[in-house]
């Protein structure tokens, strides 16, 4: 684990996104609340938030850290479900992994809840969108 003792305490924020590709029929079942295990988007949101809080336990070299905010949005989009997760903290280390873990576990939960009707559903991407705070400064996907 990187030693962050000497780093400054700053406000740090990160946003990640994931996309779960599924057939129109499966997406329609999600939209209609007809998926076999219930409210897919609502459960995925909660699962993502709870997972963000376990980031330090899941990712071996991540620092355990408090979080001032985590939010996960999951919505039907063209071809599947789009997930966006954000996390923020005032601390010595960034929250990119918290946002990435939240987006991933929300996506995995969606898969779990629709795999009974379409086993081939795939998580198509999980990626950082933006981060701010810390010595390395701000970053935005596509803006380099």
């Amino acid at each position: 684990m990187v030693d962050v003792s000497a780093k400054e305490v700053t406000r740090r924020r990160a946003v990640a996104r994931a996309f779960v590709r599924m057939s129109a029929a499966t997406a329609a079942a999600v939209a209609a609340g007809d998926a076999p295990k219930g409210d897919v988007l609502g459960v995925a949101r909660i699962a993502g938030i709870q997972a963000a809080k376990q980031t330090g336990a899941l990712i071996p070299l991540c620092h355990p850290l408090g979080l001032d905010h985590v939010d996960v949005r999951a919505e039907l989009a063209d071809g599947g479900v789009a997930i966006e997760a954000e996390a923020s903290v005032e601390g010595r280390t960034g929250v990119e992994m918290e946002a990435m873990v939240a987006a991933s576990v929300a996506a995995l939960t969606i898969y779990d809840m629709v795999k009974g009707i379409e086993r081939g559903v795939a998580i198509e991407s999980v990626e950082l969108v933006a981060k701010s705070g810390g010595r390395s400064g701000d970053w935005q996907r596509g803006a380099q």
Copy 2:
């Protein structure tokens, strides 16, 4: 959670894969063991195995279950790191989610370990490859 009381206890197995896309320079650092946080592929493998055991805690409607076997392989491939995870158990419910969680967390760990040198690295896919056992029988991606 689906009631699996009435399901048969059978041998169940699942395989999932993930791909982490990175630049050739980052892949070379991984290959050379020069990534800032150490042995990327070895740590990712352990993280994936440990996460598979937390599947029931991470995915809200997953059953908690023992596992007879989990393995995660991570290797450099064209354009990044390819991960394959498999899980098996003798039980009343499948291990697709255990394999998917293992592959996802191995991929997230790789991201964590290289993001200091290339923040734009992305997890390009997480998907089930095959499953066997249980009432719904065998399934292979691409074989329907």
Copy 3:
């Protein structure tokens, strides 16, 4: 921890309930989806299910065990929210604690989600309703 090696593997099931007392105004906010943190009943249901899976970690002398089924229902009733949780497994030890933990954590989650509008909301009871299976046989509250 009681040694259950010599006990028979049987189908075991337990049901517990809890009641969260709140004002009519707070109950109306829950019903309308106007509570500050969102879908109170849906989130409580998921929290209860996830907590049931952590029973062995929370209650010191409980056996860790798989679960074939857990379900939590939370609905508005006269004077507050009524919760019912059930759990079942085929094993050597009962699932009373899994049902009790699920009902408790669902009730605590409801408290968490409405305490911003009515801090005095109270969990009025958490109790076993029924159990079946195992050497001690069936039991029903009020039926002795």
Copy 4:
């Protein structure tokens, strides 16, 4: 999860209580140390303290936070066992849920340890007694 970034860091404290109703014979067994699983009050106290530290994992929209102090007292009272739990931290968000979770899990542990001699034992209440700190200021049950 509510965004607490903009909240002030203040000393926050909360006290919760629970009551576990049981027959005089069961209470006598607890007092005499004759309950089947051992030192009921001592184990309940430890279980409550350990659970307080898991609050962020159990309650979906709770912030994960450090704790400067948690204590749980459990003592025989008229008609059962009375539990009081308190928690404090210097932070951006309150510790009501930590106190409530500690009281609940201590109560559940008592139930677990005496249910072999009296299955009908019930947790009769879990409620906040007082809180201090934070923007919403001090609160005491019955003092509004």
Copy 5:
């Protein structure tokens, strides 16, 4: 993780022990219940039992498994506290690690509870005493 699918389900049992060396004055404080954090041996026993249930989460290549029994005994002995932990299960893989983890965490808890009065207290050994069941058969320390 070793694949245990093909192994036989047998009754498996393991016993481990640990020794925590301390001065006579510290041991006397433990015996008298005068240690700063309370009932040292009672808390250590519970900590050991709870840790045994987390073995699969702590030790990367351990299988997650149910447990039919765990017990931890901690008692004052010449020169410190002697701990003995045992675990048993009916399964495809042994419980040596569950017994070792229980003994270790009980020993660590003792250290935590007396370090305020004697920081130099040391865990002097943690070792397997005996195991039975499984293909490799019975084993006893010193009996080879």
Copy 6:
């Protein structure tokens, strides 16, 4: 749990060590990477780091706390494997237990990975080496 509200926030650091005694043949297998479960020292290091982050969950009266740094080194030495773990934080309470837990779980992981070739391997010691920070000041083993 000791109330640390009134303690000063200072930089705190602790170092612990453990020793795992094994035969020359087993040590040679570890050195050669021939142990049945793979890269013993690498996996032990990760297990120790991850366990340090679980200290508050494992040790009942430990405060949950963030960590700015944890590191675990494991290397072949005369007669076995020597482990050194260090932890640091800026907080109100020390990190002795984090270092002790990291060293212990690294040692247990080594045992797990070689027990298939030498069941009698023993953890010979787990002890604090040094600590600094906090009201009680600096401490070094052997320096009193």
